[in-house]
Symmetry: C2
Subunit: 545 residues, 2 copies
Amino acid sequence: MKIALAQVNYLIGDFEGNTRKIIEYIRKARLQHADLVVFSELSVCGYPPRDFLEFDDFILRCHHQIQIIASECKDIAAIVGAPSVNKAPKGKPLFNSAYFLEEGKVKTVVNKTLLPNYDIFDEYRYFEPNRLFNIIEFKGVRIALTICEDLWNISDDPLYIVSPMDELIGSKPDLMINIAASPFSYLQVVERKEIMIRNTRKYKIPLVYVNQVGAQTELLFDGGSMVVDSDGEIRKQCNLFEEDLTVVDMDHLPDVQKGGFEAGDDKISLIHDALVMGIRDYFKKLNFPKAILGLSGGIDSAVTLALAAEALGKDNVRPVLLPSRYSSDHSITDAIQLADNIGCGYDRISIDKAFAAFEESLAPVFVGLTFGLAEENIQARTRGVLLMGMANKLGYILLNTSNKSEAAVGYGTLYGDMCGGLSVLGDVYKSDVFKLAHYINRDQEIIPLNTIIKPPSAELRPNQKDSDSLPDYDLLDQILFLYIEQRKGPADIVKAGFDEKVVNRVLRMVNSNEWKRQQTPPILRVSYKAFGSGRRMPIVARYLL
Amino acid sequence: MKIALAQVNYLIGDFEGNTRKIIEYIRKARLQHADLVVFSELSVCGYPPRDFLEFDDFILRCHHQIQIIASECKDIAAIVGAPSVNKAPKGKPLFNSAYFLEEGKVKTVVNKTLLPNYDIFDEYRYFEPNRLFNIIEFKGVRIALTICEDLWNISDDPLYIVSPMDELIGSKPDLMINIAASPFSYLQVVERKEIMIRNTRKYKIPLVYVNQVGAQTELLFDGGSMVVDSDGEIRKQCNLFEEDLTVVDMDHLPDVQKGGFEAGDDKISLIHDALVMGIRDYFKKLNFPKAILGLSGGIDSAVTLALAAEALGKDNVRPVLLPSRYSSDHSITDAIQLADNIGCGYDRISIDKAFAAFEESLAPVFVGLTFGLAEENIQARTRGVLLMGMANKLGYILLNTSNKSEAAVGYGTLYGDMCGGLSVLGDVYKSDVFKLAHYINRDQEIIPLNTIIKPPSAELRPNQKDSDSLPDYDLLDQILFLYIEQRKGPADIVKAGFDEKVVNRVLRMVNSNEWKRQQTPPILRVSYKAFGSGRRMPIVARYLL
């Protein structure tokens, strides 16, 4: 049997567009003599549809599209993902389902058993878990069809009390098919492969795994669809970060495929490719061609600009230099050098006039008070107003340039440098931003060396350096990683070898700045614990303060 | 047996503070000869602790406090809520538990069965559901102890396939006790009572119900703890929106209690009281005494100021008039009249100077383009910078004054009038803001009549009115209610009697402004579908656009 793996980039709620793509892939697969073409989880509506699932109208539209897609399935079968209605008198109203389409109609519907509800996932919010386990027979092949998380309950410390394949294996399937919407993180690419390999080794039958590709706002889907044989060898893997249609003859599997990403491979190149895809899809799916951003001469805005230029083209990025009385000469020359290296041009607007107007207007209420944080924030916000003004006037989207270290400790001005439609680096620690800069410069110097080597500074008062207010980033990032990614408490972090006072100070900064983070733009998620929907914290609380 | 209902206001993660309060209430109850004192769900850590639950350190601290509280339980028993560790090899790591404390130690732990995971709830994110059902015996009374949602699966269309009381009733309990963290909405106060009455009528035993009170960021808990007899009559109800300790002799129940809120009672007075509590707790728990806000002369900022003055005291609110060249005379006189009525004083800072500086600075990049939305936004953002500057400099929190109608259709400037630490009216439709104004004026004119009767305007260009860009609020709010609260699709809304073009336009505005709403401050939740954690939408999508 020939199976086509259709790794497609969907747009949530774009029913006509998604159906058009699905039909196009069915036709391509038919031309390549596939018997069955497999699409990813919730492909008809795009994943994750979130609370659109609570609208009957949305569900009806899904079902309408399935009829259209089914009518295309002649001489070829297809598996697509969509919600289905739970007709039982009790339980949640929907299932997360895989539709097996054959001979112009829906042959059978399989529901998802394990509903992830951690990190960025909310599936138990919408769906009732499946409790019925049946095999699908197609052209003499007995298929165990599951959906994403259904294959992930295979660790030594299982999160769920049921494992769907344990239920299905008794019916002696010949083949597993899993349709997925498994988001990227720099560890997930390898972990996902390992999980799939573990499944084939445990159940001793081959696996066809099809994942979604493309960005859905902050969630990045890398694809990496694959065929694994019954010995746990990867026989085929689709490209990462792009659409792909791969037809595999299951009776004559291709040779074992070497290469692709393995544990220990460079996480920085993965993050780079993921961010470029994330920027590109955000703009493309919102139908905005152009990005604007502030260029400070520092490393965060430099890396953001380089990534945006790669994603959108150098003619679609518009960097703006916004110097002030506190800007150093090198901040201007480094920024200009970068724009020249990229070849994108730049604008230059001083903030001094507007800042002076604010100082003058506020003088009566600030009387007797000395220059401080408030004035620093006013400068950052003046930049925000200028950039947003240009974005609004000229039809651009403003890119946010904050990194994860800053976002964590609240070292940034809300409504100032924290503005933007999309945060590119908000899930990349400062130490990794430096590595990204080197990676961007791997073939030639794009980001000026001086931008990389000079000490980071916000330049909001004379001779300011980040290290005046924060521990060195190398130290800070280690503590943040233990707290945010590893969820260690203060005692464990101190035990890992860090100074107690510094640890307590950093944790206090993280927790007391939740109010800022909840007003920031969506952050492209590249780690397994990003700020945003995957990390949900109260604003008003007194833990570790 | 005498049972004390302890309706307490907790601070999330404030272990010492919460324990201090719990012990104080235990002592008070002991003085009143109570046999048992009942606290609400997750009382030890405060509800909802959200992802703090994923930190082992946080769980350990809960358990440490439980030991301290238990040691206080001599001559009196207590029920407190806290997470407990799931020791089974499979399943999620925690239970949401009720600890029965007696004779200085933990006598038994009961786990929650039904884990709400809709709207603002995320309990399945953290907790494994209970599957064991046992009665607690205490002083000869057989108690069926459950936690919040456990009693809510009693509709004709049940969300869960199990109902804990159906399992427990076979063991012939004498009494139900339910500990809850059931947030306010203007319908919830009555619905909660009806659910509790339905339980007692079904199971034919009395019920002691204890709810949390107080605001947790955007979530408002009204309390309303109660004792219902086995015939479904309310024998005692605690006060709404305040802490309360009520001791009830279960062997000699007080007479049936009449009064309290019933269906059809004025939702506006409930919303008023909830918002005042929400503002008060936000500031108190963050330890900020003072609020600042922009006063436009319009109704939204007027109502916000009046509510804030009631919550924080007139000396703790600082309204700022921020007129521009487009401000009408009445916008200034109405604002001043309001400040005078409240007796809070005000500041006045023109935005013209800073706005002119922005216009001048941007002239080179705006050359040839005419005044438009971008310039309107710059004015709003100039106000944002001035207000945030004062807030930062003087140690205030800025109150946001946007209403739900504006937030829904994106009629507001991000980083401008959408700034603030807390949105007071973001869950109140414009038509209800008018009713709130009348309610605030119920004894005397606080909000000037002219503010209530003049046509709403943003005053960002000459002679601007909201009705230039939006349908009339009465019409708009009806369509928004059907779409947001009722989750009707466009076809159903048109069927309800609204013009198709207007419906499609409004729905498109709602969906295309999700990016703005995800950068707004937390919104005090008074309806059953507020913007914020209870409504989760993708930013990049094409549904109804």
